[in-house]
Point group: D2
Chain length 330, copies 4
């Protein structure tokens, strides 16, 4: 956490970075509206750090953010920037920010994006406040990130549909959800979907236990099962799991990789509200002269976390949910 | 909060009471599964306190709760009981509970239901643990109640649809949501739906401000607006509001009362997970000999709250959300 | 049906009129894209006949219609025009059309809109082709109108939700759907929702039969029922029905008026495809020099119907669906 | 088409066969209700021809089919039967049908299922009427099959979500939908989803044209595209397409295979109505002594088609939709 002289602040920049997440538009809307209420001008960079580097921006007013709270994706696009990984690229980005008369930034994104924002402060004293927007929910210091709730409900809707057909055909399904090396989506969608077992990257496969659960279910007349797995480092983990189950238990599993549908769609109420609160708070923090921090949600409150602290490690899946999954799948 | 001798506990009862809420089935499932894992038998009373009074019950096993986690409504039905308001009726209910060999109960419902459960302990030493299930989210001691998230998303989907037609016709709409004398659904659906103003029972109408917001929007080219109001003590408040706006500002508003669609539908991921956690925890608390309490959610944790404390007053709508609504509607 | 010299056609106008309907944007997109492929310019009038009368228009290109196929409402708005009811107003509208160099028009709307279009041809020789867009599905000569499928599915989703709570509380519900004096939405949503009885404006209430159906259901253990009624000439018919049932059978019914949610929302696949086909065909008909007609769907084909024929009378609800409703509700 | 003596008919059998499809439950409900109104008993075989072969059945009454019209999957399950491919297995099945006193059958399924039904009549004079239930919509003689509309809307919802993220990241996506060697789902979901190009098994890839469309779009500022492809004989065609595009145009495409989510979910209004009409009609045809036929939908009418005619060849994708796709994607 750091502070800067916010008294002279006249113009704010905002951008989305990393993977897109439903609710980013609601966050942009809240940033713009709060800024305008506080007599600030707002500039949006298009495409994240690339947009800053390439000086692609547009000015944002109340009309720009009308009727976007319900839209998936991001009107400012999102993305990753190889140039920004280099000191030279960051120098160019910082020069653009200053040349545009932008006094401070709101960054909507995940841990990679916050690393960039932290560096912008360290190297160029550009004040940034972060708003955690990622479906993966893996940001230390925030119970929830923007987009997570929508992604979980999208995955859940798919699991509900798959259960219909699984039950009609006495089948074993393996559903792979997103989350990279984080198991948040898997554990939430799996518990909510009544999955027979859930595989998260944080834990090794425990095939014996899984197979026992499936066979115990069969013994009492259950004929279909759904396993949910996080994708892990790259999509396709479900195929390995299907192969292992075939080998160990002679059971054929059908694989369903949900993929990018989990990134889109109109955001849920929770994601819109979280995004609105966080966007507003980010601007208020900048108005107070706070920077090099992100906004986090803890219980019903919003808190601020230094980027340095938030980036120290990855957030872990809550143990109680793991236990819940174990009790209920029996 | 009180305690009882749980060592001899063999048979558990479960019932839903008051208005139904999406996620009640997920809670029943969690109660049954957790009980069975712990070698308890489970009996479900049908129709809440009426069912206890009339001795309408059925035995619940793993098959009874298969494939219900995604269903709206309640397989045990819900309802209110006039007989149970009388000491005599409660005596009859307590006798039925004992005659069925039921050692303890899980009550899924709202404040009226918990008042009944608290009385059962006081008058007849029947141990009950409560699980807050009501779309109104008005239970002191719990950030969220089962069904609230689903009801808000249902209301939000309706608001999104109404905005389509409002924008196509340059119209002013007043959308009335449920919540009785609580403004939780209104404030959440209103903020998430980008409503121009939100009316909650906790506050008087501030028509001047509302009309100013609408006119300011018109001045900058906005041609349609949506106001969201809680129903208040009885449905129909939206009509009074429409009439007041017509009188004070000469504006015609169309009224849309969302009504009972908000009680139904497949529960959201959040509601299923909350219900599953609370149902499991309720049984675990009974196994520990705790009773005359309800399970509450606070942040990411579950806590226990004595019925007496939970029933002391109504939960108030969070001030930050009200402020958020004010900033973003400007 | 009439014909005009289409060889000199260079600029096309398009507008939406009457109530808005989901899928109108898909129709606009198809009109614009087909026109551009055929080297025509396109102008959109905003707000229907009012927009023509007040000369409110914008030019439309491929970018204008990108990413709108999935949106509810209409980017050109819709609406009714009192001025256009007068010969003088129509004269002014015709003058505007000519002054803008517009050679022909596509009108997306219902029977009121087509009456206007027919008059434009008769009085001022403005060539118009109509595309039936109304949720009411009451246009003679077309099996389906744009928006009907979406409205029915929205109503159905509401009925499904209401059934959850009806079944949990052993209740009788009356659900009022849109359709003005046409029973298409009521019969479709009622049959699909498994309603116990359906009331359409084309038929008088047959309360004795309805009450008998409900009582017969009760006799075999059914405790909840849903009746679906069309709104009739104005919203509120459901209250009359509830009162009649209370009087004749002593049964209390809860009323739910779905209202304007039925006009909004992302269009279904059927509505988007129908709108796309009809929009494309309307332009092709104009290119062939045909006018004073609307496009109709009959089976899997599109046909053309003279406005005069389409406006002769109202389309009647299909008798087979009424019989189906009677057999299945028994 | 054939006829049998229906005067002595007392007991009807019903089964689902092949892949399951949303709306099968609505068809079962209509069969049961229509049969009971006509004083027939109904028996359901579980798991299609396997269930007949293994004599797994249950008796169905009004309560069995209450509250199922809105459910995906099939309460009678579905499936394929290797035993039934052999004359011996069919003999055993026919014996079971007769031993259970079943006079006639309703078969809900696709062309494989109807081949079996046709053989049952030819070899054993078991009267069967078919109801086309398959998401693939590939049955000659019926405009629509039960489940197709739901599957298309599920695929469309996924495409809408993917477009959000495609647009936020300037990406090219290839979405693979179901339909085996039929392109119906692909063409419908692709047109409704505004796909830049659609690949169906009936046509060879025309990569040059596709790449030209994408590049033309890029040239006018479009940065994201979605291609939709049918799966073809087996899932995975999308990967071949991605590889071909990479090779020919140097474009990286992301692949999303929608898979089994397309088989599940609550059926749309259209599928429920079609299923209800067809189920009722199938029983009425049997009551008239007609058999060895299926019910087909043509326009707004239901017709009967001899199994022999329906099985002659595959239904072809409508040419107008293909042309529509070409005009609108330009």
């Amino acid at each position: 956490m750091a502070s800067f002289n916010a008294l002279v602040m006249k113009r704010l920049g905002v951008y989305c970075s990393g993977g897109d997440a439903p609710g980013m538009n609601a966050a942009i809307r809240a940033v713009v509206r709060t800024a305008i209420v506080n007599k600030l001008e707002v500039v949006g960079f298009v495409g994240g750090y690339s947009g800053i580097h390439d000086n692609k921006h547009l000015s944002l007013d109340l009309r720009s953010v009308a009727n976007i709270i319900q839209r998936g994706g991001s009107i400012l696009k999102a993305g990753r920037s190889p140039e920004f990984m280099q000191a030279e690229g960051r120098k160019k980005a910082a020069d653009n920010i200053k040349a545009n008369g932008i006094d401070a930034l709101v960054c909507i994104g995940g841990d990679g994006s916050f690393t960039g924002a932290h560096t912008l402060w360290n190297e160029h004293k550009i004040p940034v406040v972060g708003v955690p927007g990622t479906i993966d929910n893996d940001i230390l210091g925030s119970d929830d990130t923007i987009g997570f709730d929508t992604a979980v409900n999208t995955a859940l809707d798919a699991i509900d549909r798959i259960r219909d057909t699984a039950a009609s055909h006495d089948r074993l399904f393996i559903v792979e959800v997103m989350g990279r090396d984080s198991g948040f989506i898997a554990i939430a969608a799996g518990v909510a979907g009544g999955a027979e077992d859930i595989f998260i990257p944080e834990h090794p496969f425990q095939l014996e236990k899984t197979i026992e659960i499936i066979k115990r279910g069969m013994a009492r007349g259950k004929t279909s099962s759904i396993l949910v797995t996080a994708e892990g480092q790259k999509p396709g983990r479900a195929y390995d799991l299907a192969e292992a189950i075939r080998k160990h238990a002679g059971l054929q599993a059908k694989v369903c990789i949900l993929g990018h549908i989990q990134r889109g769609g109109s955001p849920t109420a929770n994601d819109r509200i979280l995004a609105s609160r966080m966007g507003m708070t980010a601007v208020q923090l900048l108005l107070n002269g706070s920077c090099d921090i992100m906004v986090g949600s803890q219980g019903e409150s919003l808190v601020m976390i230094g980027f340095a602290d938030a980036l120290k490690s990855k957030k872990q899946v809550n143990q109680p949910l793991i236990e819940l999954a174990q009790v209920l799948s029996n």
